[in-house]
């Protein structure tokens, strides 16, 4: 079987033995910046930018090495040391470099490097720039730990590390109460998902006696369906938390309070896709449980629609993109839920999405940079002219996300829709509709931002960003366009051994004409057209217009996700807390205070015996002696 052959890791050689440097370099850089403090204020951001570039270089060399190897040799397990050895469990710290993880490493370090470069310009005047770069490096290190780990326990370390970095970066401007709250919200919601992942790891340790991918992949075949489903659902819960899938989606929109490079790196390209990685990595578990796979697909589809819906109603450019991110990750989850056939498509879309969404987020950052950090699209308009480079790079991202033929999103998204159509027609149809909605809201974004008439606030003079910011945009725009063509014919075969799929039939950069593909294209064109008809023909009001459209109102309120959380979790939780407090005060404290009062009263009564007269005490003593003596005498009589 290809599945087992591909997962038998070979020993590391050459550069693979120092693969840990990929993680160590950014970690060391983050540590230096944080420990040395103000000393590194002047040059820290350069050090921090070099760190992911160095990691990227290592990853690129390893990738080239893997490319040159035969398929069976492409899984390398570089075990470093034993972390925990307790009872029958041994948890090693080790890194698994295989076709799946190396693609992630390249995406993280590549896009990460570009975003670091971009941040040099974006954060140039921020007093906390050093801290920001330290956190970014910390994130890179944690994310690489997550994807390179060879077992779930080490993966969890990275999982929590990115959670921490995400928290620190969302609330980076912690002087803003909204940012601080958003960070806390992301942290708390992620805890719910982490609970699922930890439970899944415990289950694995209990069922397989190990948390390593190899052991889990082998052991999964012997699982009973119930346990497999449970394990699959627990992993799905973890993935939902990290990837902002329904029902744990609420934190992602608020996470946009963080600096825009953070949104691009963490909340678009890399961290939020960790859930997809987790599901794909656990393919052996899902292979045993159609129920959990279906749950993954359903969650993906629901999020796909919800994200798109939210995207249609928001005026905040970053929130539109955040909704879009949710939606696109929904595609990936859908693909991951469909089964082995679609795993490569999930990763494929993850990569292309990483490029074009990072591109668009950075583009949005560039727009904000020129618009005095205003995020309201109603204050934009006609920005294509003053910000040419930003406009064209953003346009590439736009064309990619809506699925324009020959752009990257076209290949990856159409593959998913087709696969879904084949396996789960209902979900496929919904995904198809969502493609239309995507086209609709992205066109709306383009119209409101770059086209239409200018609605700038007073004193705002849009201008192009400096080179340090637009060069990364250009470098991201290129893969946004070509990544699909380049990878379409290759990625299926490349990933097949790692994700347990079959090698698909030969695909090429020339798109295969299928009925579903044509319908998708038609739906996308319809979405663009409707958007143009609604928003393009008349002026965009600078104020939020009143609407009776229930769909729009719901979208503006994030589909009432927060209200749902408050009603279902917060309110009962608070009621429970109040009840517990009432019980504590009434019953527990009452008992404690009651016994205290009783003792005090008893003492107040007894203290009158303490009259200070020795003779009285003596009498008491004699009476005591008589009582004891009587007891003895009576006791002996009996």
């Amino acid at each position: 079987m290809t599945l087992l052959e591909g997962l038998t890791p070979v020993a590391p050689t050459g550069l693979f033995t120092v693969a840990w440097l990929m993680i160590a370099i950014p970690l060391l850089s983050a540590g230096l910046l944080l420990v040395l403090g103000k000393m590194t204020n002047s040059f820290g951001h350069y050090v921090a930018t070099l760190a992911p570039i160095a990691s990227f270089a290592i990853a690129a060399v390893l990738f080239a090495d893997l490319l040159g190897r035969p398929e069976a040799q492409r899984t390398v397990d570089a075990s470093l040391y034993t972390w925990v050895k307790t009872g029958s469990w041994t948890i090693d710290v080790g890194f698994l470099i295989d076709p799946l993880s190396i693609l992630f490493a390249l995406l993280i370090t590549g896009v990460g490097s570009l975003i670091h470069v971009y941040s040099i310009g974006y954060m140039a005047h921020d007093p906390g720039r050093r801290r920001f770069f330290a956190y970014l490096n910390l994130f890179i290190a944690a994310m690489l730990t997550l994807v390179l780990a060879d077992n779930y326990a080490v993966l969890f370390v990275g999982w929590e590390g990115v959670g921490l970095a995400s928290y620190l970066l969302i609330s980076f401007w912690q002087h803003k109460p909204t940012a601080a709250t958003a960070g806390k919200k992301a942290f708390v919601v992620n805890r719910v998902g982490d609970l699922g992942l930890t439970m899944a790891i415990f289950t694995m340790l209990a069922m397989f006696g190990s948390s390593s991918f190899t052991a889990v992949n082998e052991g999964a075949q012997h699982l009973t369906p119930t346990w497999a489903t449970l394990l699959g659902l627990l992993l799905l819960l973890g993935a939902c938390g990290k990837s902002a899938q329904v029902p744990l989606q609420s934190w992602l929109l608020d996470a946009m309070e963080g600096p825009t490079p953070v949104s691009a790196l963490i909340h678009a390209a890399t961290m939020v896709t960790a859930g997809v990685y987790l599901v794909v990595r656990s393919h052996a578990v899902y292979a045993e449980t159609p129920a959990a796979s279906l749950a993954v697909a359903i969650v993906g589809t629901v999020t796909l629609l919800a994200g798109a819906w939210i995207g249609t109603s928001k005026d905040d450019i970053k929130k539109v993109l955040a909704g879009s991110t949710m939606s696109q990750i929904g595609y990936m989850m859908l693909a991951a839920g469909i089964g082995p056939v679609a795993y490569p498509f999930a990763i494929f879309h993850l990569l292309t999405h990483g490029f074009f969404k990072a591109n668009m987020f950075l583009g949005a950052g560039s727009v904000m940079h020129g618009m005095h950090d205003d995020v309201n699209m109603r204050h934009y308009g006609a920005l294509a002219k003053p910000m040419k480079i930003t406009y064209y790079t953003f346009l590439m991202g736009y064309l990619a996300i809506i699925g324009t033929p020959f752009f990257s999103g076209f290949y990856s998204k159409d593959s998913i829709i087709e696969a879904a159509w084949e396996k789960q027609p209902v979900l496929g149809a919904l995904a198809l509709i969502a493609a239309g909605i995507t086209a609709f809201y992205m066109t709306r974004l383009m119209i409101m931002t770059f086209w239409s008439r200018e609605r700038w606030q007073e004193g705002v003079h849009p201008h192009e960003s400096p080179a340090v910011m637009w060069v990364p945009l250009v470098l991201l725009a290129i893969p946004s366009v070509v990544a699909g063509m380049v990878m379409n014919s290759w990625i299926g075969g490349w990933l097949a051994p790692a994700v347990g799929g079959e090698v698909p039939e030969h695909a090429s950069w020339v798109p295969t004409i299928t009925p579903v593909g044509l319908v998708t294209l038609a739906v996308v064109i319809a979405g663009v057209a409707v958007s143009y008809l609604v928003f393009g023909r008349k002026a965009i009001p600078a104020e939020v217009p009143y609407t009776r459209n229930i769909l729009t109102i719901a979208g503006r309120h994030d589909l009432y996700g927060d209200a749902f959380n408050e009603a279902v979790f917060m309110a009962p939780g608070q009621a429970l807390t109040k009840a517990v407090v009432a019980i504590d005060e009434g019953v527990v404290d009452g008992a404690v205070r009651g016994s205290g009062t009783l003792t005090v009263g008893l003492g107040a009564g007894l203290r009158t015996l303490q009259n200070g007269y020795v003779r009285s005490y003596g009498l008491t003593m004699i009476v005591g002696v008589i009582i004891v003596g009587l007891a003895l005498v009576i006791g002996r009589l009996v």
């Binding site: 007269y613 003779r615 009285s616 009498l619 004699i622 009476v623 002696v625 003596g629 009587l630 005498v633």
Partner: protein
């Protein structure tokens, strides 16, 4: 040693000394003056010594009289004298019902003691004659015990006695509250008084010396013939008042006057 048939010396001693002891003990409790109580207790103890003797405990008989009655009780008397022999305590009972309760408790205890001890009693007694004879006498027998099996306890009592003696000294020792004034300090204080208050620093004038009186109550006369009040102790002044200087001087003046008269006569005779 049968005095009367069926009556032994021990019985005689018991029936004579027992009632005396009980009476003396009750008296000790009832006497209002501590001295009488102490003497009553001494009487109890002497009688107890006799009972010891009647029970063949000759060493304890002697010790009871010499040590207990002679030393301990005399210490009591000594302290009674020290703290005021004439102090009699008030009869007002501050604790309500205390006396009655105490007597009831005493009676209850007595019944309990009688019952408890009575159950453990045997009618006959082995007698200590054999034990005494073993080492040649009561004193030798006790000595064999004290310096034999009980030698550690005996040594411990020595430590106890020393501790008690030291403790009594520490407790009864009166602490001086202010430093003792030496001659230098007194002189300095006197000069200080002179400087600040103008008090004469030298010794005060002696009492007056008259032809027929030189008692310390007689005031001295200043050169102008007035009385110096400083020359007589203030205590004496308060107790008996200053002696009248005029009356003290009067005899001398009378004598001078008569001398003058005689001299005048002889001159006239010449």
């Amino acid at each position: 040693m049968t005095l009367v048939p069926l009556v032994t010396g021990a019985e005689v001693a018991y029936w004579i000394c027992g009632p005396i002891m009980i009476l003396a003990a009750v008296a000790m409790v009832l006497f209002r003056k501590a001295v009488y109580s102490a003497l009553s207790l001494a009487l109890v103890m002497v009688n107890l010594a006799i009972i010891y003797a009647s029970q063949d405990a000759s060493f304890l008989f002697v010790v009871q009289i010499i040590v207990y009655t002679g030393a301990v009780m005399m210490l009591f008397l000594f302290v009674v004298m020290l703290v005021g022999v004439d102090v009699s305590e008030s009869l007002v009972e501050k604790i309500k019902g205390h006396t009655i309760a105490s007597v009831l408790a005493g009676v209850g205890l007595f019944i309990l003691l009688a019952v408890a001890l009575g159950r453990g009693l045997v009618t006959g007694a082995v007698g200590v004659e054999a034990a005494n004879a073993k080492f040649g006498g009561n004193v030798q027998g006790l000595a064999a015990l004290l310096f034999g099996p009980y030698v550690l306890a005996f040594e411990a009592t020595s430590a106890l006695l020393i501790t008690a003696a030291v403790g009594a000294m520490v407790l009864a020792h009166g602490e001086r509250l202010s430093p003792k004034l030496d001659q230098k300090a007194r002189a300095a204080a006197r000069i200080e008084d002179f400087v600040t208050n103008g008090v004469h620093p030298g010794p005060r004038p002696n009492s007056g010396v008259y032809a027929r009186h030189n008692a310390i109550a007689s005031p001295a006369l200043l050169p102008d013939g007035t009385v110096s009040e400083e020359s007589v102790s203030a205590v004496l002044v308060r107790r008996s008042g200053l002696a009248d200087a005029d009356s003290l001087v009067a005899p001398a003046k009378a004598a001078f006057a008569s001398l003058d008269a005689v001299q005048g006569d002889s001159e006239e005779d010449r």
